[in-house]
Symmetry: none
């Protein structure tokens, strides 16, 4: 078992030594070993725990809350990672809105006035901090994710096809990255959930005669039957990736969509 000194761990994780001292005193991250001279030594478990801490910090959780989350008896590392993923995706979307706000502001300043209301001037800034919390909760309940995402997208009102296409390509990239993972793993399934929602936005609600499960499975079958579908995704045909997608989608349909 390898052990890290404070400085080594600090450098590894990109934090300061003082930060580790601080976390120790708070009881947030305790070294697994103390030498005779009271030197702190951190092991494998602490590496993972520190990573979790940094994820929650990235999402603006206060340290006390992070501690209570990580110390909770029902804390699950995998579901936590899954929820981090979703929350960070929300943040990335927020950044996209900010970039949009910049473009619009620039257009306004260029002289083409009147296209930007005062409200739009602040689109994308942290109006709701509770958003991260909700995502946290949402991630825990699988199928409910889909429902909420759907209703949220519906609330957006007008379909923004550009955004949908951008999202689709992002999902595709994520899935390509995950092609060697287990199709039933949370990481893959999270992407499949996004894919499902994305597809439904194109389809509309009434597809498949109302039987959503079979409709989605049908699409999954298309991916193996007609390799041109994977080509449009990947830029080239790839039976192995098609099979991977198929398994992931069928699993999703059976576990999340079937009732």
């Amino acid at each position: 078992m390898k052990h890290y000194s404070v400085r080594k761990l600090a450098k590894l994780a990109g934090v300061s030594v003082r930060t580790l001292h601080h976390y120790d005193r708070l009881g947030l991250l305790r070294p697994s070993v103390r030498t005779e001279a009271r030197y702190r030594l951190y092991g494998e478990d602490e590496l993972i725990r520190l990573q979790q801490i940094l994820f929650y910090k990235e999402l603006d959780f206060p340290l006390t809350e992070i501690k209570s989350i990580l110390d909770a008896p029902d804390f699950n590392l995998l579901t936590a990672l899954q929820s981090h993923r979703q929350a960070l995706e929300v943040r990335r979307d927020r950044l996209s809105v900010l970039l949009d706000t910049i473009d619009k502001t620039m257009v306004k300043l260029k002289g083409k006035e009147g296209m930007l209301t005062d409200e739009e001037l602040y689109a994308g800034f942290p109006r709701e901090r509770a958003e991260a919390y909700r995502q946290e909760a949402v991630a825990k309940y699988g199928a409910r994710v889909v429902e909420e995402s759907e209703s949220k997208l519906r609330q957006m009102g007008k379909l923004n096809f550009d955004a949908l296409k951008a999202d689709a390509s992002d999902i595709a990239q994520s899935l390509v990255r995950l092609r060697d993972a287990d199709p039933t793993s949370p990481a893959v399934q999270a992407q499949i959930a996004r894919h499902y929602v994305n597809i439904r936005m194109f389809w509309g609600d009434s597809v498949g005669g109302g039987n959503v499960t079979e409709a989605y499975k049908g699409l999954a079958q298309l991916y193996v039957d007609d390799l041109r579908y994977t080509a449009s995704y990947l830029g080239h045909e790839d039976p192995a990736f098609a099979a991977f997608l198929n398994r992931a989608m069928v699993y999703f349909a059976d576990t999340q969509l079937a009732q």
Copy 2:
């Protein structure tokens, strides 16, 4: 001219009234009008300024620095918005790295061990945030920062070749990502500055008979003349990328190194 009360503006921008009070006392955002009863009233200019403040805050600038930036006589709103755009794109990239880190961590936990080093466990975390800061600074102060970086690196004493190599590969990746951008843009130039410092660490100080500008331009020419250099960078030869690098490096040499 429409005017907003503290509460109205706070709601509009998604900040608290207390925050506006705070900004007023700091001199960061002063109301254009005070009523007889000393009520604060904000006009159009303040809306824009608050937007700027929020952008800089989003990028983790301290308030005092924001103030000095916004109050500088040569402050230009349009170029500021452009640099926000670039910085926010960097942040979005960082989020993508974080998402990738999550996926990899999940795969590791699924049992396929050994594919993830301890370092990779923290890819995308604040180490890179400091990096973003430095890039931002480099873009602004050009030559001065290069000098500082150099002296800082010199203070490190012994050459750490592993670190240098890692840095070089990081720079290369950044440049590949930026290959479609303007070679003279701050984002590209910031990477070129890193590249320059990195190269000098390998070279030593006395290269080129003391004429650094010409030496660096010579290296730039190498990239177009001998495509094997881009191959070692990219894994394959690419004249277009070589030309891009050349232009970026020549521009850097002429604007930052020439005296």
